[in-house]
């Protein structure tokens, strides 16, 4: 088997509070291969972004990695600090944030921001860096890149700015892109363009992409595999088509039933009763059991099964029975 670009094993993020220790990410494992797009879905607070931030080492204090391992191209990166960590960011992992309007420094031209990123990671001259900057803008589909390189961020539209952000994330040619809700702040018509762009770059360059979103449409459109997160844990992980059409975890079943795209033709959208528990109110047993229509006694008392990267698809005692 080909070595995956990113391997996350049992990743746990903790936030110490005055009363207890919260675990926004709890023993999460997954792989992403070169040229593969892994879609990570879940509601707000499910731990999707926290997982992405943990991978790139951008957790805000007091959140920290409390357990598990992160491997990038065969090197362990979760224990890196200082300059070593900085050199991984941007060079080996690129990140795209949700809001292109605020991700770019308003006082620097996009050329300045591209050149500084290229020069901090690659040993090239100023002219060469500028050349590469123009190329990367061309690549993400900015028209007349050579002229627009001296423009400021506010002179671009939202969609164009997100293209610039992607160019910035890609300009040092990282092997992994973490895209944290890259389309949420954009118009629907622009969303499709950005997703198509990410897909194209991923396939052309063989970049691994971790696509964090709560938009099932984006997942269906772009993802090769899907990871469903719930209350900090991995609920289901599998090939996109299977997860979307034959969900194995009761939560994924509920999620699909409440998505217009997946339940096309139905008259009413179903909703999952209740809401995701707060992290400081987690009960023993499966976190989804209070809302789960199939929950049994076992689900409420025994710790839920942990989903390993390759074994099984759903972290549920009843997986397989539910779908029928």
């Amino acid at each position: 088997m080909v070595e995956p670009v990113l391997s996350v094993r049992g990743l746990t993020v903790e936030i110490p509070t005055r009363h207890s220790v919260l675990r926004p990410v709890d023993t999460v494992s997954f792989d992403i291969a070169a040229g593969e797009i892994l879609g990570v879905v879940g509601e707000s607070g499910a731990g999707k972004s926290m997982t992405g931030n943990a991978v790139i080492g951008l957790l805000d204090r007091p959140a920290h990695i409390a357990g598990g391992e992160i491997w990038l191209n065969g090197e362990r990166i979760d224990q890196l600090k200082g300059d070593a960590l900085r050199q991984v960011r941007g060079k080996h992992i690129g990140m795209v944030f949700q809001d292109p309007l605020t991700s770019l420094n308003p006082l620097l031209t996009i050329g300045q921001q591209l050149v500084e990123t290229i020069q901090v990671h690659l040993d090239v001259s100023g002219a060469e860096a500028k050349n590469r900057a123009v190329n990367s803008l061309n690549e993400v589909g900015i028209p007349a890149a050579a002229e627009r390189i001296d423009a400021y961020p506010h002179q671009f539209s939202g969609g164009m700015r997100q293209r610039v952000v992607i160019a910035l994330a890609l300009c040092a040619e990282p092997s992994l892109i973490i895209a944290d809700e890259p389309t949420t702040a954009l118009d629907v018509s622009v969303q499709a363009q950005i997703i198509a762009l990410l897909k194209r770059l991923c396939h052309e360059r063989g970049t691994a992409v971790m696509l964090i979103t709560h938009d099932m449409g984006v997942i269906a459109e772009a993802a090769d595999r899907v990871a469903v997160m719930y209350a900090g844990r991995m609920a289901e992980l599998g090939p996109a088509r299977e997860v979307l059409t034959k969900p194995a975890h009761p939560y994924t079943v509920g999620l699909m039933g409440s998505t217009p795209l997946a339940s096309a033709g139905k008259e009413r959208l179903n909703q999952i009763e209740g809401s995701m528990p707060r992290l400081d109110e987690l009960q023993p047993g499966c976190a989804f059991s209070p809302r789960c229509p199939y929950a049994q006694h076992k689900c409420r008392i025994e710790p839920r099964p942990t989903l390993e990267a390759h074994e099984g698809r759903a972290a549920c005692w009843l997986a397989g029975e539910v779908a029928e």
Partner: protein, 327 residues
Amino acid sequence: MLAFTLQRVFQSIVVLLVVGLVAFSMFRFVGDPIDNMLGQERTDADIERLRGELGLDQPFPIQYGKFLKNAVQGNFGISYRQARPVSTILAERAPATLELAAVSGLFAIFFGVGLGVFTAIRRDGFAANAIMTISLLGVSLPTFLIGILLIYVFAVELGWLPSFGRGDTVKIGGWSTGFLTASGLKAIILPAITLGLYQMTLIMRLVRSEMLEVLRADYIRFARARGLKERAINFRHALKNTLVPVITVTGLQLGAIIAFAIITETVFQWPGVGLLFINAIQFVDIPVMAAYLMLISVMFVGINLIVDLLYFSIDPRLRIDRSAAEG
């Protein structure tokens, strides 16, 4: 850009006229200059004659109109006390005040921005917390007290620095400078610190809070995610984005430095325009007071104008939006 500048200049002139009017109307309550100018053995006829010569018997609007007419021509009248042209007196005194203000302004900006950035980056460090605590003193102690404390420690007890005056000065053209002599440089240290300390702490606290705000911004996070060096993030990305509000306040504070120089100049007997003004008040020397107030307001208005123009050079969004709006 040009239209904006012209508009601002026009506004500035209106402001100056109003300031002049208010200041001029106040002088009528300061006292009667005639009392000081004529000795004990004066007659009513003398008083009336002098009043007529000085134009003080005329109605207030006419006095103000005459003052304006002369002021526009650079003529601020004759000092009642020194019997010399006010413009000459001000020109003699201005270098002392401007040098003092420049040194304390630089002191305030240099240390204010530096310490502000330091305390923002090391926000949980011991040194940063200590600086923040001490800075409270700088904000809350009145200027004259700081001056007296500094004199006590550095002039009286340690004897390192002079306690008053400007030291030796060198004349270059019409400008007398204390920067070229050792005693002049030594003499400016204590008054400059006294005058600039409040502004320094103000700038420092402002830079700190703005920096903390900016450091939370998405583009700083994105800069981190791109693997930029901490130094580049802090200074190239964060500090520049804090500058617009900082320049606003700093600009106004520079005006305040010149205006508040009155107190520092009194404490240190610094021979500048502030001390001149205090003496003029005691003598009800109306031409000097009027000229001084106009000078201060010209400086305030001028600094404000410069501040507004600086925004354009820092923030590209203003440049573009305005030029687009103008066609």
